[in-house]
Amino acid sequence: MSDIIFMFLFFFMVITTMRESEAKVKFTQPSATEYQKLDKKNSYTVYMGEPTVQGAALLDNSVSIQFNDKLATSTTDEGLKLAVDEFVQSSRDASALKNEDPDRITYYLKIDNQTRMTAVNQLKLALRKKNALKIQYATNKDVKKGK
């Protein structure tokens, strides 16, 4: 009896990945059929959606941006630039610490379906300015069409 439970236990211990960041924004991802798997070891997440906590700075259409686990507190071009600078820099440091290549970081963008493209483009431009070019748009697997 306890052997079986132990086996279950090890199974879950092995597959568990602790969540490093908790989303503080609500978002529904779009679906896609042509997705690729995310390389989790060397990726850092940006969320964009309606905030669920108080005190978040709002972009256009009341969405806000969260970098890893920090909500952006300013949405002016200057403030966003600072936040992205800090995010990219800390990602690169963390990546170097894990013996990964900081130039091959994937920036994983979890963005809500209904976000307007102005906000998305603002983020993309800020990332480009920081030379953070490898991105991946988070999507759900489209079950209807399959692959």
């Binding site: 602790m18 779009p30 480009r128 490898k134």
Partner: protein
């Protein structure tokens, strides 16, 4: 008299492992993180878009409007021939002049025709013979087509991703066809293989069928 082997009371270990089990059950998320990969173009300060002379037949303009209608224009889809795609037919009003081409999920057919150009039609992109060193692939006529993707401010992210998905789909079909013809295996198998030889082959096929999206190009 045989001595009894001392035994340890193990009844509590089951309880403990039960507790641990429930803990890991609750904290684990069998997460499957996936998405569409894109490479952003480098940022340059002088945004004087270097108007590189691109042959008009090599450009496919895809524009997502504020009402989430996708408009497509290219050398083949010009004049009265340009195509309008929308998931919401009601949003396409009669004052728009283009042809209603169906839902956005049909975009991959147009992109496939554009990137593929199998019959070398004069209003579809040119092909340029380029040597591919990976996996001793040899020379291949790589399509010089570029998709220019543009979004108006109020377009939603959902539509934008749909367009990206369709473009990827077209390229993946082309890559798959080439892969099957050349190596007899589907591209997905090669790409996800752990063998170096297969990875090289996948690289060669990616090079032969590049995804050129201006605004964001992909690997």
């Amino acid at each position: 008299m045989a001595r009894k082997a001392p035994s340890i009371n193990t009844s509590s270990s089951a309880d403990i492992s039960f507790l641990l089990l429930t803990f890991f059950l609750l904290t684990s998320n069998i997460s499957s993180d996936q998405g569409i990969m894109r490479q952003l173009p480098k940022y340059s300060k002088d945004v004087v878009e270097q108007e590189v002379e691109i042959n008009t037949r090599n450009i496919l303009r895809v524009k997502v409007t504020n009402k989430n209608i996708v408009m497509i224009e290219g050398a083949k889809w010009t004049g009265n021939n340009w195509v309008m795609l929308s998931d919401n037919r009601a949003g396409v009003n009669s004052s728009n002049q283009g042809n209603y081409g169906g839902e956005i999920s049909t975009l991959h057919e147009i992109a496939y025709e554009f990137f593929g150009n199998p019959r070398n039609e004069p209003d579809l992109p040119t092909r340029k013979s380029t040597p591919i060193s990976e996996a001793e692939f040899g020379d291949f006529d790589i399509s010089e087509g570029v998709v220019s993707l543009e979004c108006q401010n109020y377009a939603t992210y959902e539509t934008y991703i749909k367009v990206h998905n369709e473009l990827s789909r077209a390229i993946n079909i082309l890559r798959d066809e080439l892969s099957k013809e050349k190596y007899g295996k589907s591209f997905k198998v090669l790409d996800e293989s752990n063998e170096d030889a297969d990875k090289e082959k996948a690289k060669a096929i990616k090079k032969a069928n590049p995804m050129n999206i201006s605004g964001s190009s992909s690997n």
